[in-house]
Amino acid sequence: MEPEVKRFVADHVVELPKSGIRDFFELVAKMDDVISLGIGEPDFVTPWHIREAAIYALEKGKTYYTSNLGLIELRRAISSYVEKHMGVTYRPEDEILVTVGVSEALDLALRAIINPGDKVMYHQPCYVSYHPTVQLTHGIGVPIPTVASDRFGLDPEKVKSAWEPGCKVLLLNLPCNPTGGVTEKKKLEEIARFAVEKDLLVISDEIYAELTFEGVHTSMAALPGMRDRTIFLHGCSKAFAMTGFRIGYACAPAELIEAMMKVHQYSMMCAPILSQEAACEALLRGDESVKMMRDKYARRREVIVRRLNAAGLECHRPGGAFYAFPSVKSSGLSDDEFAMWLLKEEKVAVVPGSAFGLGGEGFVRCSFATSYDSLIVACDKIEMFMERLSQKS
């Protein structure tokens, strides 16, 4: 008999765990009429003026490759958008790189920076791709815990105590998927000072920046001494509801962008031109659409947090993004069991927190990028589910 085909797969990929979200998706996909709070993207369709810009570009025959860095018009738009909203200035010519989503930008940043064995600090629970991307670049992940009592914000003391010799990068995602955690400016400043002290490069994925519900978002790159040691990552997916367009971007000092561009030009070449054209429209004229959507998320946040707490699931108010991250401890179930039973009995899908790494166990992620209708029905069902559980025990 032939040996298994798997023998061709690289060792470090064999070792790479499959995303826990994928297993859960397979399960949900087999069921009908599921109300899903498991979706990590906006429920809004991309605003029409942005879609229309993509159609117009197609009509005009814009079907070519663009510069590896991205269309210069888009880079100019990014430059002024980032300056206006984040308070940091980047040169469109050589300090901005347009990528296929922030996921590519993160991959490029790590591939351009990490030598085998370099250590990357990142906070957990976190977005599913962080640790695997570090592993794929042969780096070593150094997790920093975040906890519910801090509303999953990043505690400078925990950053300091997690640090160990060999740490080169601090990877941040604030506001955070899955926890909705944000970190106040004062603490960020302290973390920034620590990054300077330990000579850390900060990769800051701020994809949910616009979806900050309390006060204004502070960008890591805008803090004193940080611009030249930060790779700022952002994109159009969440704020402009453009996930399918796949547009992300990286802003950083020219030498770092040049390094990332090398990897990008040999792997991706460039982001799709139609998406880039749409992104131009979004960044130049999309502020009102963003505000409308943020207002709606903000109100849904109040609804879901109130209802989850009322159902007996302790849930902090997320400071940003569109995820509630309640503890399921009171149910007496693990997060996996909770998600599975809730799906089977009530046909409501939430994502087990352990899919997001250590510290996520015992929690579930409930997306409120969902219409009021579904949100209210889902909350009713969760409440019934919890009532039944308490009767059983």
């Binding site: 995303s19 998706f25 949900v28 979706i39 990590g40 998927n177 109040e302 109130r306 009021y372």
Partner: protein
Amino acid sequence: MNGVFKLLTEGEPLDESQMAEVLGVSIDDVRAQLTELKDAGIFLGWRPVLNPNVQEENAVRAVIEVKITPERDGGFNRFADRISRFDEVDSCHLMSGGYDLLVFVHGSSLQKVAAFVSERLSTIEGILSTATHFLLRSYKEQGYMLTQKDEDSGRLDVTP
């Protein structure tokens, strides 16, 4: 303005109990806020938005441009008020530009709308002229697309 007002202006299709849920108040509070808005003359009432392309009754709709000699006291207001009171009239607006009032009317047939214009509207003293345009097909009504809707998004049920 109150929370109900904000929800109404956002055009969310919510009933009273859903509004209560969203705002975190009781249904009675929602009703009280609605009454408050009604009393203030801000919220006028509920009406269904129907697709004019499939309506059978009152199937004919027209827009009429009306030119008027304004009166010394009251300007256009008395005319506008008088015209607006006809049941056939859906809405009536004072306009800048080449005519004075823009009047949206409906009727069960072309003849009935025509008769309304020639017998009721244009005979009012002070009305100089009318120009009637019949609506042939509607593409968007009160914010609702009538032609092509966004298809079911195909958003996956679980994504990172």
